[in-house]
Symmetry: C2
Subunit: 564 residues, 2 copies
């Protein structure tokens, strides 16, 4: 799907790295980072771009894998005695590390190996591949790339790179179908999602995920405790390490690239939430808190963390260390519960790194603007620079229905201070499940927040996009202004609501001032008269004589539309 | 118009100061600042709330006033030989200072007088009236209150008070009618606009403004150069001080409360814009730049500034010193043109204060997030704390169609650092003219940005609103969550899209997790078990014994909806 006629996906270099190329009316082109993938027939899936690279490293083997069970698709599949909507595309046998050595990008990076994934990432980010390798080696960036998700186009998450955004999709016990979820995936990446999390908790969890991964050019994340909970009839106290471990392996074999693991919700932290305005709002956090309380035992994700690492390193699954005790209201921000958990996540980061497993750390949530910077500062300090991945945060609680905006304010701010990836929030947050339009609104909103942060950070080349669009605006290249927009369709629609005529798209004025007087025109006249390469001092000196000329030519400042 | 059944306007105290009272289902009420006014029949207008106060000061006189001319309603009225849509409500003769003494709130404040306007403001802001008086006296806050706009409910703009927002309305040469503009006014204040600017540049400018002012409980601002330009057939070089002065008096007599005056666009600054990416984007700025260039003379607004002050002090019109050279792209932010003009605005601030005229200073525009704080810091320093009033700023240029959001990010940030009022930006910015829905979206977006700043500043009581809403959310008081929202209608609609049934509004779960498992429920169980007034230490100690109890009662954690 091409979002606008002036956009094409192009592939450059020996690795065929994708860019979105915008063809401008002045003959120039503008290339930007592309997430939409090469496009797929949902029933067939994507070609395995990375298969040859993975093969070439000769450190993985194909094996039989775990038998898929009816319960993997939930209790209703069990009731029916059959799965539904089975994946009909190619089925590859699962693959994992052949021996004891990890097959993670971090292990390669630490060994000084430049993988194709790293080269691909460097080409996308237009940076040196050594920067990619050294940041991954140091744990300051991750390349989520499960060996069982060869369809993915490698991307990197780290503060030295473009700020990334994640879109959550997934069905719930209440509503939605497999086809809808695949459609949301495609919609999310078309508009710019860098990763997608499948948070399904409803029917056909296993099969929905299979369809999503096989069609996804972006890394897929999950929260495996959601599926594990379904396997124990939704009763958190019935959860066991064995059920969880089995679920993780099921998902590793399908190709999930990163998994949220709420291993920082320790038994002793749970009472710290008792006096909060909104207690525990993370679903995973409350599941683990419920388990800890029911058993009065330490969180099994914490006690079995090294075993998890041993699994993840065989597939190159990355940790997304979940912040189960994140604040759910501005009142609860940066409190003892939240910061205690963060200290534990820091400890777990170091432990995962000992296994060469890639890690990012999740963050809030709801945080007043004055406390936002502290969140990323503490996380970066305590977690030794591991990438921070935050949900917003919302800067105020008072605007349900507009929480994509309340959170974009916090998100741009936290990303400016060093957060590497932002999890989007849609207008439906707190109220209902996002539909297709909400997914788009969430993605575009977070794209602009992430880009605002890139510009504020002075990320190399980031402002070029702003400049290209602003130049098009200044020169009344309306079509280019639309094409360069994050959302060309909406920009053009809004313009046409006031000035629908076709020639208004080439007119040297807009509906704000109308044809008779236009501030953009007068500025262009200033430039024409003073030249665009004069210093301000030269310009001031030359002004007197230019003035006479300006009066003579004055008529051109207030041209009628047909005269321009 | 009441936005939600659970909302009422109430009036308290001897001055009958309005609040929006939200009736909660738990019997409590929550009062918040109210902008919507008592409501009016557009053809009749509002009662003159302040008339007795103004009269009581006995320092103004009624006079004949300037004769309204056909040209006041634009060239088409002139062509037609008649005005149209004439104001049919009460007409009051204009009023101005009786003698030489100024009748401004600043003059009263400096003289130690507590006016009814100050007491009204203090009651609205729930602060001490002395704070109001001293801030106005020092020039750090303004109460825009033209003696010819007695319908207005006094409000204050200053960094020590709630952050305010302005909504722009007004027709253009291209489109729209008087009734539409009055409807936009009502819509804007219903959703929370603190002031409204009428930026009409099309037909019936004078009459449209009359209808707006007579129906407005909030201060009305204008940019008189727009109307003056219409009077000289849209040709900037034909503008004269005399035409401008006449227009200003026309508007003073109608009751405009503050006027944007682009007196800082000095001749020598114009060439500084020649090398910009987007030149001069302010309409007023480019009009004055065009005039300066055409005549090679200093800006007549600057050379006649003291005469303007002498007019404003007779009506208590406040200056909004326009930033005609504000950046129109992130590339041009904080450049020499912008900062040169700001230095001149600082000089003009001091001059206006010598006349006891109230002043606020306008600011950008388009500014990358890392440069936002510098804008407000320099303005506050150079302009001796005069209130700052910014347009956004937009944190990136790449998202036309979403510029309410790109600018809300900058707006929340700049307000957190001390900006007193935010001019909204609608989704149509850069593309077309806002319709009714765009006005609402712009207002709500800016309300949430302003409130996020109030919370970040630790403004007394600001977070109470967040806490009230979050508590309602945590306790599954859905109706209260809607009623406490900035936009109850949208919040309820979004909820109902996923769970339309009436009983879902009292259900103790939501569509995110479904009835079987709910994270909010488990938190409430944590609280029930550990008590809400325990210290974390106490709670940790008491945990072991509570745990056994928790397992026994475990069933209640995972209640079915009908059981709760």
């Amino acid at each position: 799907m091409t979002v606008h006629p002036a956009h094409t996906r192009i592939e450059t270099g020996d690795l065929k790295v994708p860019f979105t190329r915008v063809a401008l009316t002045n003959g120039e082109t503008f290339d930007r980072y592309c997430t939409e993938g090469p496009g797929s027939d949902p029933e067939v899936g994507l070609p395995p771009l990375r298969a040859a690279w993975i093969d070439g490293r000769a450190d993985t083997t194909v094996y039989d894998g775990r038998q898929v069970q009816l319960l993997d698709n939930g209790r209703s599949a069990l009731r029916r005695g059959a799965a539904q909507g089975e994946w009909r595309g190619e089925r590859r046998a699962p693959r994992r590390a052949a021996g004891d050595a990890p097959v993670t990008q971090m292990a390669y990076a630490r060994a000084g190996i430049m993988t194709e994934e790293m080269r691909y990432v460097a080409a996308r980010e237009q940076c040196d591949v050594e920067l990619v390798r050294s940041e991954v080696a140091a744990g300051r960036a991750i390349i989520p790339a499960n060996v069982n998700h060869p369809e993915s186009e490698p991307m990197i998450i780290g503060r030295r790179f473009l700020v990334k955004i994640n879109a959550n999709i997934g069905n719930s016990a209440v509503t939605s179908s497999i086809a809808e979820e695949v459609d949301k995936l495609t919609h999310a990446i078309t508009w710019g999602a860098d990763t997608v999390m499948d948070l399904s908790t409803g029917e056909d969890i296993h099969t929905t995920r299979e369809w999503i991964i096989r069609n996804s050019p972006v890394p897929i994340g999950t929260v495996p405790i959601y599926q594990a909970l379904e396997k124990v009839n939704g009763e958190a106290d019935k959860l066991t390490w064995e059920v969880f471990r089995d679920t993780v392996i099921e998902q590793c074999e399908q190709g999930v690239d990163y998994m949220t693991i709420h291993a920082g919700v320790l038994l002793r932290y749970v009472p710290l939430t008792a006096n909060r305005v909104t207690g525990i709002v993370s679903r995973g956090g409350s599941i683990m808190a419920g388990w800890c309380l029911a058993h009065h035992e330490e969180n099994f994700l914490y006690t079995h963390f090294d075993e998890l690492c041993a699994i993840f390193r065989r597939y190159d699954v990355s940790f997304s260390l979940g912040d189960g005790l994140r604040p759910g209201s501005t009142a609860d921000a940066n409190d003892e519960a939240q910061l205690s958990e963060l200290r534990t996540l820091a400890e777990l980061t170091t432990r995962a790194w000992e296994h060469d497993v890639q890690v990012m750390v999740e963050g809030p949530g709801h945080v007043p603007l004055d406390l936002v910077e502290e969140n990323v500062r503490l996380q970066q300090e305590w977690c030794h620079g591991a990438p921070f991945y935050t949900l917003g945060p919302l800067a105020t609680d008072i605007a349900p229905g507009y929480d994509h905006i309340t959170s974009a304010i916090g998100a741009a701010t936290i990303a400016m201070h060093g957060t590497a990836m932002l999890c989007y929030v849609t207008p439906k947050e707190h109220l209902g499940l996002p539909n297709r339009d909400d997914v788009k609104t969430g993605v575009i909103t977070y794209k602009l927040a992430a880009h605002a942060a890139d510009v504020a950070k002075g990320h190399p080349g980031a402002r070029d996009w702003d400049d290209a669009l602003s130049k098009a605006r200044f020169e009344f290249r309306w079509r280019d202004q639309f094409a360069l927009s994050l959302d060309p369709v909406t920009a053009e629609e809004f313009h046409d609501e006031t000035l629908p005529a076709e020639n208004a798209k080439t007119a040297h004025f807009c509906s704000m001032c109308g044809p008779k007087f236009c501030s953009m025109r007068i500025s262009q006249d200033v430039r024409d008269r003073f030249g665009s390469d004069l210093t301000p001092e030269d310009a001031a000196l030359g002004m007197k004589e230019k003035s006479a000329e300006f009066v003579e030519l004055g008529g051109t400042v207030y041209v009628e539309p047909d005269a321009s």
